[in-house]
């Protein structure tokens, strides 16, 4: 019997030792998120763990998972984007057909929109209303729509159809511009138009043809719209060595739309097989990003692409540029993402920190 007892004592000891070695210390929790950078992270696909991070302007404070910290519950979806209107942040949760409305400075939940959205992507504001792009059923290219949100009741009051794959949406006065990227479901077609919606003319829609897969859109200093069309890369097939390649390859371009005539006034095309994924404007400079190469800068009246990258990067998933600083988040879905702030002129890294899993968008909260 002695051996038995000894063995049990060993079990007992090992159990208690391994079980008691963890201890966590509470960390400081911020409660307002003014004067700094807001980073939204998608989270992993279908895992409902999108999160929001904040970094103060002087980089002295940062916090991750702030919505959960403030509200005690997760947002509960993949954060596609955030739209800001006055004091309100409209957090668009793509996979759960939901928009969470929160105070943009405290991030306390104010309302939730749970009906009238299907695969929502981005929101813009005009005419006292919110306009949300929706892909609809991912495998159906004919059911895409814009949902109109009553900003008083925070409910979808009406919807209207739009061309395939509506992605980003921006407003200028009573006009809305939508980049119709297309390619919303596996095997579905890419699109090549920017839709113009006249909100003061019964949401009449006209379209402007651009290169394939238009996505990021930013107004330049003159008030004209700069569009990044990524070009199509699809219909994957295997060659004789079993290597997958895209059978369909079309050209990417940076195009400027003259908003007075709603026509393309300039087109700068990329080389074959080059697919830039991000674009932003700072002052009179356009910044664009090509994965695994870097961020390039050109003047907003340039007619040619830049030969040399302004900043070398790995693969960015999100990028914003402000006051000569490039804010980028690295693309990773298995470790926390990294926010890197770089001075565009000196190319020196100013700051970096870990932010939520799958970080994708960077906003400025002043």
């Amino acid at each position: 019997m002695k051996t038995t007892k000894l063995i049990f004592k060993l079990f007992l000891l090992s159990l208690v030792f391994v079980a008691c070695d963890e201890d966590t210390t509470p960390s400081e929790i911020l409660d307002t998120f003014e004067n700094g950078i807001i980073i939204s992270a998608e989270g992993a696909w279908k895992a409902k763990d999108g999160s929001i991070s904040f970094v103060s302007e002087d980089y002295s404070m940062s916090t991750n998972f702030l919505y959960k910290g403030v509200n005690g519950s997760k947002l509960g979806g993949l954060i596609q984007s955030i739209g800001f209107n006055g004091d309100d942040a409209y957090i668009v949760l793509n996979d759960v057909n939901t928009i969470v409305v929160a105070d943009r400075y405290t991030f306390l939940k104010k309302a939730v929109i749970t009906t009238g959205l299907t695969n929502p992507r981005y929101i813009a504001f005009a005419n006292g209303k919110g306009y949300v792009t929706n892909w609809g059923d991912a495998d159906n290219i004919n059911d895409e729509f814009i949902a109109v949100v009553d900003l008083e009741s925070n409910k979808v009051e009406s919807t209207f159809s739009i061309s395939n794959g509506p992605e980003q949406i921006v407003s200028q006065g009573s006009k809305l511009y939508v980049s119709n990227r297309g390619g919303t479901g596996s095997g579905t077609a890419y699109n090549n138009v920017v839709s113009v919606i006249e909100t003061d003319a019964a949401n009449a829609i006209s379209t402007i043809e651009v290169n394939d897969a238009p996505d990021d859109m930013v107004f330049n200093a003159a008030g004209n719209l700069v569009v990044l069309s990524q070009g199509e890369q699809s219909s994957w097939a295997q060659d004789e060595n079993g290597i997958w390649y895209a059978q369909i390859e079309t050209t990417a371009a940076i195009q400027t739309i003259d908003v007075s005539s709603n026509t393309v006034s300039s087109t700068i095309e990329f080389g074959v097989g080059v697919h830039p994924n991000l674009l932003d404007i700072d002052g009179s400079n356009i910044y664009y990003h090509i994965g695994y190469i870097g961020v390039f800068s050109i003047a907003d009246d340039a007619t040619e692409l830049s030969e040399e990258a302004a900043i070398l990067t790995d693969n960015l998933y999100g990028m914003s540029v402000k006051d000569g600083k490039v804010y980028g988040v690295l693309k990773t879905f298995e470790e926390l993402s990294e926010l890197i702030i770089t001075d565009a002129t000196s190319k020196s890294k100013l700051y970096s920190t870990a932010v939520g899993l799958g970080a994708s968008k960077i906003y400025f909260n002043e």
């Binding site: 079990f11 008691c20 997760k74 509960g76 759960v96 939901t98 749970t114 693969n315 470790e335």
Partner: protein
């Protein structure tokens, strides 16, 4: 710390009866003479060669009647397995000892029925209520069961007995959310023939209210589990013919159909639109033949499995995955002396898999194995085995196993097992368009366990220390310049811990007392960064406590699972809170005579109405009720 208290309490609770067993012997031996006999029979069964050196738990028919809704729920309260299900009734995967779901093998009458595509079994698309025997075996077993037997194996067996008998069972239950679980079973034996026929039918609206009040709809109303209905049914038939005692033929066939909607959970259940259908069909022909000191068994099986997944339940468009596996499994056992025997194994499989996007792929597998058993006396058993698999897709390392059991004192056995096991890459991992990786190699493990077992006086106790070193673990990672995830042999993990089982039965005149419980402590960590692996709780405890007086039995079920991480970051934000659920039930035996027994049961599930999750934001039901009738004749 709370965790420490729980552990200390558990250790005291579990160790105490063993230290004080001498007392039990002194006081209890007279009362438990009847129990003693039955336990002894079980004890000899316990040291069967196929379970040598390893820890096993058996789930009885009584337990099936108490958790009939699905297989996940049954095992959640009766085994050391950790389950991850996507909401109540959604797809469910099983993990032993902190390993991954594809390291758990489910065997139906000895045949591996894991999905060819995913390498896992969905425990909510399997009818286990009609099985005659469910055995949960922890630990490695590739020598015997082939690919995937690293964490453990779950065995579902149908009994075909030639003894002259006729047993019938009818079970029906109805409960909250329009949930109904039903099955019937008929087992017959005529001396020459043995027949088993059974059927199962389950359905539920499954529209339980979500008790997580942090989330509401846009009008401030509480939410419920929309889009969660399910219906499933299955039939099993087994026929056996005894040509002679040495020459027997068995045939088993089973069909299953399941139609489920997948709920979306929080924060917006109305976003749910997915539907899934399962079609499973399995056939097995077994020939048992003994000549001289040789026993040979030939199993010929054909299994087909198919799922159809509808992204939009109202649409007719679906994506599918289907597979056919044809297999011949030959074993020859030669007993060349009273102490020594040798088993020779030969398995040939042909597997075909197809999905919507993937052209048909084939795989041929041929395995050879041998197991040497040595049992010089009734106190010592030793076994040594090896298996080599030849696979048309890649090289498979040799698996090997060494087991021994030694009786060290009256009613006390020490058990030890060391083994090397493997898990071959699945069809999805290898062939999925664009992301499939044809360069994958099998996962492989070195593992060992050491256990102590006590069984007598109505008390059964088992404690097993385990250690698993897993290499070339296949995980999905984002690849290159795209948002595509592709599987790679990247990871290494070490899982170690202890599994405890305690069972105790006591009958004094009209009083009946029964306890059975499992506790597992697991430390499963990534070898590279030391982080705790996802969905591997440190503590898992479940137990059933039962008291009976006369015709009434009252029972209590308890489940405790500590916090789990939902991804490899091991951060609190990406975790699920600890789970603690309790159920309370009452069975009343209305009629009991000879072989006839009519039991009326009622049960309150989740009596504390506690909020618990097994996947992020898919809450499980709050307090709910079921009643059932269990009629055996």
């Amino acid at each position: 710390m709370d965790v420490c208290k729980v552990v200390c309490f558990l250790v005291v609770l579990i160790v105490f009866p063993v230290f004080s067993q001498e007392k039990i012997k002194d006081n209890g031996s007279l009362d438990s003479i009847q129990n003693l006999n039955t336990v002894d029979i079980k004890a000899s069964k316990f040291h069967k060669t196929e379970r040598l050196g390893q820890k096993t738990v058996e789930v009885s028919a009584k337990e099936m009647a108490r958790n009939p809704t699905n297989f996940t729920e049954l095992l959640r309260y009766n085994s050391p397995i950790v389950f991850k299900d996507y909401g109540n009734g959604g797809t469910s995967s099983a993990r032993f000892r902190g390993t991954s779901a594809s390291n758990t093998v489910v065997l139906w009458n000895g045949i591996n029925i894991n999905s060819v595509g995913s390498g896992q079994t969905d425990f909510n698309s399997l009818s286990a209520n009609t099985a005659d025997e469910i055995i949960i075996k922890s630990g490695g077993g590739s020598v015997e069961y082939g690919s995937g037997a690293i964490g453990g194996t779950v065995h579902l067996k149908d009994h075909l007995s030639f003894d002259i008998h006729q047993n019938y069972q009818l079970f029906t239950s109805y409960g909250s959310f329009n949930t109904s679980s039903n099955f019937f079973k008929a087992n017959l034996g005529t001396g020459k023939w043995a027949i088993k026929l059974s059927g199962v039918f389950n359905s539920s609206d499954n529209d339980y209210p979500f008790i997580d009040d942090r989330y509401q709809d846009e009008d401030g109303n509480s939410l419920k589990n929309d889009n969660g209905n399910y219906i499933n049914y299955g039939v099993d038939l087994g026929i056996a013919y005894k040509i002679s005692n040495k020459n027997k033929l068995y045939f088993y066939t089973t069909g299953y159909y399941g139609d489920r909607l997948f709920s979306d959970g929080l924060p917006n259940p109305s976003a749910g639109s997915e539907r899934n259908e399962d079609f499973n069909q399995r056939n097995l022909l077994k020939w048992f033949y003994r000549f001289g000191d040789f026993t040979q068994i030939i199993n010929t099986s054909f299994i087909s499995q198919e799922y159809r997944y509808y992204d939009n339940k109202d649409s007719k468009d679906y994506s599918f995955g289907k597979s056919q596996t044809a297999s011949i499994n030959y074993s020859l056992n030669y007993r060349f002396s009273n102490a020594w025997s040798l088993k020779y194994l030969m398995v040939a499989d042909h597997i075909n898999g197809q999905t919507t996007d993937l052209v048909s792929e084939d795989r041929d597998v041929f395995s050879l194995g041998g197991i040497l058993n040595y049992k010089p006396n009734s106190d010592f058993i030793f076994s040594l085995g090896a298996r080599k698999e030849y696979n048309s897709d890649f090289k498979v390392p040799i698996s090997a196993s060494l087991s021994a059991e030694q009786k060290v004192a009256k009613f006390i056995w020490l058990k030890a097992n060391v083994s090397a096991n493997y898990r071959v890459p699945t069809f999805n991992e290898m062939y999925w368009p664009v992301v499939g990786n044809r360069d994958l190699i099998p996962e492989n493990s070195r593992q060992g366990e050491f256990g102590l077992e006590f069984e007598n006086f109505g008390l059964k106790f088992n404690s097993t220390l385990f250690y698993i070193d897993l290499k070339d673990k296949i995980i999905w990672k984002p690849a290159g310049n795209s948002n595509l995830w592709t599987p790679v042999n990247l990871d290494a993990a070490v899982n170690k811990g202890v599994e405890l089982f305690l069972g105790y039965t006591k009958k004094i005149r009209s009083h009946f007392f029964h306890f059975s419980g499992n506790y597992t402590f697991t430390e499963a960590s990534d070898s590279e960064n030391g982080r705790q692996l996802p969905y591997a709780p440190k503590h898992l405890l479940n137990y059933n406590l039962e008291y009976g007086y006369g015709i009434a039995k009252i029972y209590f079920q308890d489940l405790y699972q500590s916090k789990v991480f939902t991804n490899r970051l091991a951060l609190d934000f990406y975790s699920l809170d600890l789970v603690h659920v309790m159920n309370l039930g009452l069975d009343i035996s209305l009629f009991e005579k000879d072989n006839t027994n009519l039991v009326l049961g009622g049960k309150i599930n989740n009596i504390g109405n506690s909020l618990y999750y097994f996947t992020n934001l898919r809450p499980m039901p709050g307090r709910n009720y079921t009643i059932n009738i269990n009629y055996k004749f």
